[in-house]
């Protein structure tokens, strides 16, 4: 088996004195979509923040293509190829869609290259092209989520961390967003996906980890997990 793109080895993270992650272990293979499931406060978002460098692990190691990136600054990790699309579809509401996207390629100083990526983003998300001049704050929730994903992709990451992309969206829009996730996988983007909705996540993911109070309590293929009623009921309320 080839080396995983991303590997977490006993990662511990604390907010002040409160321990949030108690030694998380997981691996993501190239080209796959891996779902990170669990209840509120289980540590899903914290795990993503630790990977993208927004939080510093107190113990353990994070390997990206076999190289340790634990403790790196967020911009260095992004440069290495991991982009984080934060939850609650944060966009710069008072900037235009165009400006939001361009800022996504902040680390790229080549104007032509940025233009090329803009074109790619508009091809992926035609709705954003229509709204390029509009303030991001005036977009609908689904459009804002698309913008947030497109902006993260402007860095052309090898691995995309996607934090609850369907949060607060209607079921129909959520399905659309998941469709986008599946499409991205088809285009060769590796994705680590955090989701509350188990069934929706497992439709696009090939593998899933279940987190509970900062630890991985189960991990299996999507089919395996869907067939495991005990785990579903105990940890995922499904």
């Amino acid at each position: 088996m080839s080396q995983p793109v991303l590997q977490l080895l006993g990662v511990k993270v604390a907010y002040g004195k409160v321990q949030a992650l108690h030694g998380v272990e997981l691996a993501v293979e190239e080209g796959e979509v891996v779902a990170l499931l669990g209840a509120n406060g289980a540590g899903k978002s914290t795990t993503l923040r630790a990977i993208s460098g927004l939080l510093r692990p107190t113990a353990g190691d994070i390997l990206f293509n076999g190289k340790s990136i634990a403790g790196w600054a967020p911009d260095a990790i992004l440069r290495a190829g991991i982009a984080h699309c934060p939850e609650e579809r944060h966009v710069w509401g008072e900037m235009s869609v165009d400006e939001n996207l361009r800022l996504g390629a902040f680390l790229c100083n080549d104007r032509k290259e940025v233009d090329r990526r803009m074109e790619l983003a508009f091809e992926r998300f035609p709705r954003l092209r229509e709204r390029a001049r509009q303030l991001a704050g005036t977009l609908s929730g689904g459009e804002q989520q698309m913008l947030a994903i497109a902006r993260a992709l402007m860095a052309e990451p090898k691995l995309l961390l996607l934090d609850e992309p369907s949060l607060g969206l209607s079921p129909k829009i959520s399905d659309e967003v998941m469709g986008v996730v599946a499409e991205l996988q088809g285009q060769g983007v590796t994705i680590l996906l955090v989701e509350q909705n188990v069934h929706r996540a497992l439709r696009v993911a090939s593998k899933a980890y279940v987190l509970e109070t900062g630890k991985v309590v189960a991990s299996d293929t999507a089919e395996g997990l869907l067939g495991n009623r005990e785990v579903l009921r105990a940890y995922l309320g499904a």
């Binding site: 927004l54 967020p74 992004l78 982009a83 934060p86 008072e94 902040f106 991001a136 704050g137 860095a155």
Partner: protein, 333 residues
Amino acid sequence: MKLERTLILAFLAVAALLPFVMRSEYLLHIGVLVLFSLVLASSFNLIVGYVGEFPLGHMAFFGIGAYTAALLSTSFALPIWLTLPLGAVVSAIFGFAIGGITLRLRGPFFVIITLCFAEVLRLIANNWVTLTNGPMGISGIRKPGWIEAADALTQKTGFYYIALLLAAIALYVAYRFVYSNIGRAAVAIRENRFVSQSVGISPFYYALVTFILAAAMAGTAGAFYAHYISFVGPEVFGFAFMATTIIIVLLGGKGTLVGPIVGSLVAVLLEEYLRDFKELRLSIFGVIVMAVVIFMPNGIMGFIARRREVRDGGAQPSAMALTGREVADARGA
């Protein structure tokens, strides 16, 4: 962007022509005050308006620039065209040191710690008598030779044009800053720190760069002040300059390039006009400022920009009249 540039250039052009019609020492003095306040306010605005933090001790850099110019001028007889840039450099070095410490803090902590630095510098200026001459201050700072030789009116005119040059440089630097990658990064951080980090912007680094730039600007203003008044005492670190600068930036509109221009004009002229009210002056001033904060929280320029948006966005007024954040709030509610 276009409008901003036009307004700035128009202001500078009018300011350049003014001395030809305004042949009065008093009026020229007011002009110098406006231009000098403008430099100070632009510097303060970089941090308040673009980094989004409130450095209550910003006058530390003004004072450092003033003392640097005073000492270099009296001890080494350096001319003004050297003391101005050196004042900027020394202030920038202090900006690097103080910013490096304080920018790790945010909100009220940042406010208090920057204020502490200004206060510490004031105490040093007051007590390190061998260097600063203590409360007596440093007097007899030389005016440029060509100004000293001239009559009173020409002297004022000379200083007016030096101040205008500094104001033009300050506005140019601020303009370039805002429309550079650093300015864009600073605004991105101000608007959403979390997302900024997710696209690879390092908040601390860009805040520090802005802080150093603002410190250098304030230092230049201080150096100019030293030569203009030809006296520098510990009160340059005091709160009076700070208060005026805060008023100017809030009045004009923080986070806009034209705001400090409008603010300086209104505040300085108002302050002069209210001189007749003697003791009541500051109270009246305070009431006006409170009214501005309550009724025009984004200052005069913010108010105007908003009116323009309402007018231009006629097609979809409900959405365009609101700022993005208000829309997001409304949606979240």
